[in-house]
Symmetry: C2
Subunit: 163 residues, 2 copies
Amino acid sequence: MTEPRWLNADERRAWLALLSINTLLPAALDNQLHTAGKVSLFDYNVMAMLSESEGRFLPMSELAARTSSSLSRLSHVVAKLEKRGWLERRPHPRDARVTTAHLSDVGMATLEALAPGHVEAVRTKFLDALTEREVNDLARIGEKIVARLDNDHWILRDTERRP
Amino acid sequence: MTEPRWLNADERRAWLALLSINTLLPAALDNQLHTAGKVSLFDYNVMAMLSESEGRFLPMSELAARTSSSLSRLSHVVAKLEKRGWLERRPHPRDARVTTAHLSDVGMATLEALAPGHVEAVRTKFLDALTEREVNDLARIGEKIVARLDNDHWILRDTERRP
DNA sequence: GTGCGTCACTTGAACTCTCAACCACGCTCT
DNA sequence: AGAGCGTGGTTGAGAGTTCAAGTGACGCAC
């Protein structure tokens, strides 16, 4: 067994920063969303992903991919949002294994009401700290990390590659 | 009320990447730690922070600061780790309000057994995706974001400023 | 057309986290 | 000395998350 390569100063800084962001940023945004409406960041994201899709619906597995979540977690959350009347689950007409989640009109209205406050928070808690160049760097670096973690992740789809 | 400023392409890329990293990276590392020993990333971090401190102990509030966690969350986790014999809580000799968490020898040994696999995972899941320059950029950008979220965050302490 | 493996989900139990309430101590002011 | 306030920490309940197991459906092999 060989001695592991410990982190050097920059690697440690990068790792600690990411670790901290990781707990602080969701907490800050969760907080804003929770006081604005009783919604978590994850709830918001689920609805946002649906709202951006053709017909405002997606199969559960696709929705799970777009929220980077497990099917199990998504299933529980969709059940909750369905109870609030913001979503509806329907069986897929062609493939009976598939369930599709549909954003209801009420859900869409809720999302639209929450959206301005949310993007504002994303700006003040995060983007406003950075220059345009840094935002671009972060996007590039972030996507490289995502690619490492999940090479087929949806955010990497059609970023300048396509038949 | 004015129209909110929605995100432009780069802002959106940066935000989505960070959001994805945020769920994928902890999951990946949690996974590694959980199969290596029954430990979460947060558990590991708590013990790592103690191991790096003078005397291997810290007051609960300082430990909470160094793990970016709430006192409440920390309290629950420390109770759990204490039950496993890896930590010990003692009253502070001078200030009876303060509890200090001490890393036990068994805890230290556990940590040392886990460390190589963990740093290896940090490398393969994250750092190896980046060039030296990108690691440096990420450290810089990450610290700016942390500063925006919590201006007194401990990782910003004594980074080239001091009497 | 009958198995048999895989896929798409769902469920319940165990665990974790958050939130609000609480307690005990120390500090300051009078 | 005692009142009142802020600090440091714990606790219990409720919400959320994970994990392992289970349920149908599809689809391919023979």
